[in-house]
C-alpha cells in the first residue's frame, strides 16, 4: 500500500517532467519500470548510446532498496555501458544501490541521475577487475552482494 502510493506519486511527477537524457520506457505495473538514460556530454565512451535501466520494486519500497540493474535481455537489446564499476551482466557497483548505502529519500529519478553522472564522470574504458569470474559465478541479487566501495572519484 505504502509502496504503491509512493510509486504512483513518483510516476505522476515523472510523467510531468524528467531531467534531460532520462526517459521512462515502461511503467505498466508498479513492480517493474524500465528507464532509458543517455549521457549528454561529449564523452566518447558513451556517445550516441542509450542504456536501459530496470527497476524492480518490492512492497517495502522506499524503505528498502529496490533491485536496479541494466537488463541484458529485453525486447530491444541495449548495450551495457563500459565502466570500471559496471559488470558485463548489468550489475552496477554503486553504494547507494546497496542496503547499506540506500536512503529512503532516493527516488527513481534521483537514481537515474546518479547513474547518469557516474557514466559522465568516467574516462576509463574498462570493466571491473574480475568481471569474467563474477559474471559466471554470481547468482545473488545486487543488494546482497558485499561490494567494497573503494573509489570515491566516480
Amino acid at each position: 500500500m505504502f509502496a504503491t502510493k509512493r510509486l504512483s506519486k513518483e510516476l505522476i511527477k515523472i510523467k510531468e517532467h524528467l531531467p534531460p537524457g532520462i526517459s521512462i520506457v515502461k511503467s505498466d505495473t508498479l513492480e517493474e519500470w524500465l528507464m532509458d538514460i543517455k549521457v549528454l556530454d561529449e564523452n566518447p565512451l558513451y556517445l550516441n548510446q542509450t542504456y536501459r535501466l530496470k527497476f524492480t520494486f518490492n512492497n517495502k519500497y522506499p524503505i528498502e532498496v529496490q533491485f536496479i540493474e541494466l537488463p541484458t535481455t529485453s525486447d530491444t537489446p541495449r548495450p551495457i555501458p563500459i565502466h570500471p564499476h559496471i559488470y558485463s551482466n548489468g550489475i552496477i557497483c554503486l553504494d547507494l544501490l546497496s542496503s547499506a548505502g540506500w536512503s529512503p529519500v532516493q527516488t527513481v529519478e534521483s537514481v537515474c541521475m546518479s547513474i547518469q553522472s557516474m557514466l559522465t564522470a568516467n574516462s576509463r574504458n574498462e570493466r571491473p577487475p574480475g568481471d569474467q569470474d563474477f559474471v559466471s559465478y554470481n547468482r545473488r541479487r545486487p543488494r546482497d552482494i558485499n561490494f567494497m566501495y573503494d573509489d570515491d572519484n566516480v
Binding site: F2, K5, K9, E10, K60, I63, S99, S103, V105
Partner: protein, 447 residues
C-alpha cells in the same frame, strides 16, 4: 525545544494506537502542494512531522520505519537526506508548517461509496467519524457479516441484507437497495425518451434509441466526410440533397476497384518473383554450357507468337518477362534433349563395359586353370626331387652318426680336430650309390 532520543521515538510510536484512524497517506489530495511540504520518504504532505538535528523534517512514521530498517547499528543512524550522524529527534515544529500541511484539501476516503466531500486534511478524520454517511458499517445483525453505508443503517437495528422481490420486474433485490431500485433502476420502470419525450419502459430504451425519430444521427455518408448530424426525421430530406450520398455508389465502386487492382498487383508481384528466380537459374545453367545459347535462340522465335497472345493486357515489363520465359522454355527443351542423348550414350557405354567385363573374367578364368595345372605338374616334380635328395642324403647321415659313435669312444683324445679329420676322409671314402628311384618306400620305413 523537546529533544528525545531515537529509542524514545520508537517506544512512542509503538505505543500509539492508530487502528481506526484514517490513513492520511492513502488519501486523494485535491489541492496541489509545495514540494517542500512533502516528506521525502512517503512523498505526502508531512503527517506528524518530526525534525532531526540537521534540520531535515520527516513524518514520524516514515522516520521510524527508516530507523528500524537501518542496516548499521541504531546509534549510528544517519539522516536519510544528508547522511549526517544524528542522535536525537525534535518533536516540536513551527505551527506554520503544521498548519500548511493540515489545510491541504483531500477527498473523503469513502468516495467510491459515493461521498463527494472535500475537506482540509485536518478535518477529514472528524468528517469520517461523525458526518460521512457513506462510511461502511457492520450490519447490526452480527451473523450477517455484510456491510452497510452509515446512512443506510436501519434505525431499528434490523438487517437490511435480506432479499426482497420487486413487484414490477420480479427480480430479487436486497432490502437496503430496494428503494433505489424501485424508484430508479428497475427495468420495468416507466421512463421518458430524452429525445422525443415519449414514455417507455427502461429496458426498451436502447431499442427505442435506434428507431426514435427525434434522436440525432450522423449522415450515412459520414464515412466519406459529410459532417452533418440531424434528427432521424430530417435525415431523409438531407439524404436527398447530400452530394456525398449521391457520390456514394461511385466511391464504393472505386474502392472495390482499388481492392481488386491491389489484389492483381500482389498476384503479379508473386509471378514476377517466380519468373526472376527461374531466370536466374537458367542464367547460371547457361554460364556452365555456353554452346547451348544459339540453338535456344533459334527455337525461341518459333514459339513466341502463341505465348504472347495468351496475355493481351500485359504491360511492357510483363511481355519482357514473357519472352524471357519462352527463351527459358526452349533452352530447357534443348537441355532436356541433350540430357536424353547423353543418357542413351551412358547406357550404351555401360552395356559395353559389362560385355568387356564378362569377356575379361572368362579369359582370366581359363588362364587361371592353365596356370593351376602347371602348378600341379611342378608340385609333383618338386616332391619327387625332394624324395631323391632325401634318399641321397640318408646314407651320408648314417655314416656321420657312425663316425660320431667312434669319436665318443675315444674320449681321451683331446684334439677337437680329430673327428673332423676322421670325417673328412670318410666322406671321401664312401662311394656314391647309384640312383634308385624306386627306393623311396624303403627309405621312409627306415627313417
Amino acid at each position: 525545544m523537546t529533544n528525545i532520543t531515537l529509542e524514545d521515538l520508537l517506544v512512542m510510536e509503538s505505543n500509539s494506537d492508530r487502528d481506526d484512524v484514517v490513513d492520511l497517506r492513502s488519501l486523494d489530495y485535491v489541492s496541489s502542494y509545495d514540494d517542500h511540504l512533502m516528506c521525502p520518504i512517503c512523498h505526502c504532505p508531512f503527517i506528524h512531522p518530526v525534525r532531526l538535528k540537521c534540520d531535515h523534517v520527516f513524518c514520524q512514521k516514515c522516520l521510524v520505519s527508516a530507523i528500524t530498517t537501518f542496516a548499521a547499528a541504531r546509534d549510528e543512524f544517519t539522516c536519510p537526506t544528508c547522511r549526517t550522524h544524528t542522535g536525537g529527534v525534535y518533536l516540536k515544529l513551527p505551527r506554520l508548517l503544521i498548519n500548511m500541511c493540515d489545510e491541504i484539501r483531500v477527498r473523503c476516503p469513502y468516495r467510491n461509496e459515493g461521498c463527494e466531500e472535500v475537506a482540509p486534511r485536518v478535518f477529514i478524520q472528524t468528517h469520517v467519524d461523525k458526518y460521512c454517511g457513506y462510511r461502511l458499517m457492520d450490519c447490526p445483525l452480527g451473523s450477517c457479516g455484510m456491510k452497510t453505508r452509515k446512512k443506510g443503517l436501519d434505525p431499528d437495528g434490523r438487517c437490511l441484507h435480506e432479499l426482497r422481490q420487486c413487484t414490477r420486474c420480479e427480480g430479487n433485490i436486497m432490502e437496503q437497495d430496494y428503494g433505489e431500485h424501485f424508484s430508479e433502476l428497475c427495468p420495468n420502470l416507466q421512463t421518458t425518451c430524452p429525445d422525443c419525450q415519449t414514455s417507455i419502459l427502461r429496458r426498451e430504451l436502447k431499442q427505442h434509441a435506434n428507431s426514435c425519430p427525434e434522436s440525432i444521427h450522423a449522415c450515412p455518408a459520414s464515412k466519406y466526410g459529410c459532417p452533418i448530424q440531424l434528427k432521424r426525421g430530417d435525415l431523409a430530406t438531407h439524404e436527398q440533397t447530400c452530394p456525398l450520398i449521391a457520390m456514394g455508389p461511385y466511391f464504393e465502386a472505386q474502392n472495390a476497384r482499388l481492392d481488386s487492382l491491389e489484389l492483381t498487383i500482389r498476384h503479379l508481384k508473386q509471378r514476377n518473383e517466380i519468373f526472376e528466380d527461374g531466370l536466374a537459374n537458367i542464367r547460371t545453367t547457361l554460364a556452365q554450357s555456353p554452346t547451348a545459347v544459339p540453338v535456344a535462340d533459334g527455337r525461341a522465335t518459333t514459339s513466341s507468337p502463341t505465348r504472347r497472345s495468351n496475355d493481351p493486357a500485359s504491360s511492357n515489363s510483363q511481355s519482357q518477362i514473357d519472352s524471357s520465359n519462352q527463351y527459358t522454355a526452349t533452352t530447357t527443351n534443348y537441355l532436356l534433349s541433350l540430357h536424353e542423348s547423353l543418357r542413351e550414350e551412358v547406357g550404351q557405354l555401360s552395356h559395353a563395359i559389362t560385355d568387356l567385363d564378362a569377356r575379361a573374367s572368362m579369359a582370366i578364368m581359363s588362364e587361371c586353370l592353365r596356370i593351376k595345372e602347371d602348378m600341379a605338374h611342378t608340385n609333383a616334380a618338386v616332391s619327387s626331387v625332394r624324395m631323391q635328395v632325401q634318399w641321397l642324403l640318408n646314407p651320408r647321415l648314417h655314416q656321420h652318426q657312425g663316425a660320431q659313435r667312434t669319436g665318443g669312444a675315444r674320449t681321451a683324445t683331446p684334439a677337437g680336430s680329430s673327428p673332423a679329420a676322421a670325417a673328412g676322409p670318410s666322406t671321401s671314402t664312401i662311394p656314391l650309390r647309384p640312383r634308385r628311384l624306386s627306393d623311396s618306400g624303403r627309405e621312409g620305413t627306415k627313417l
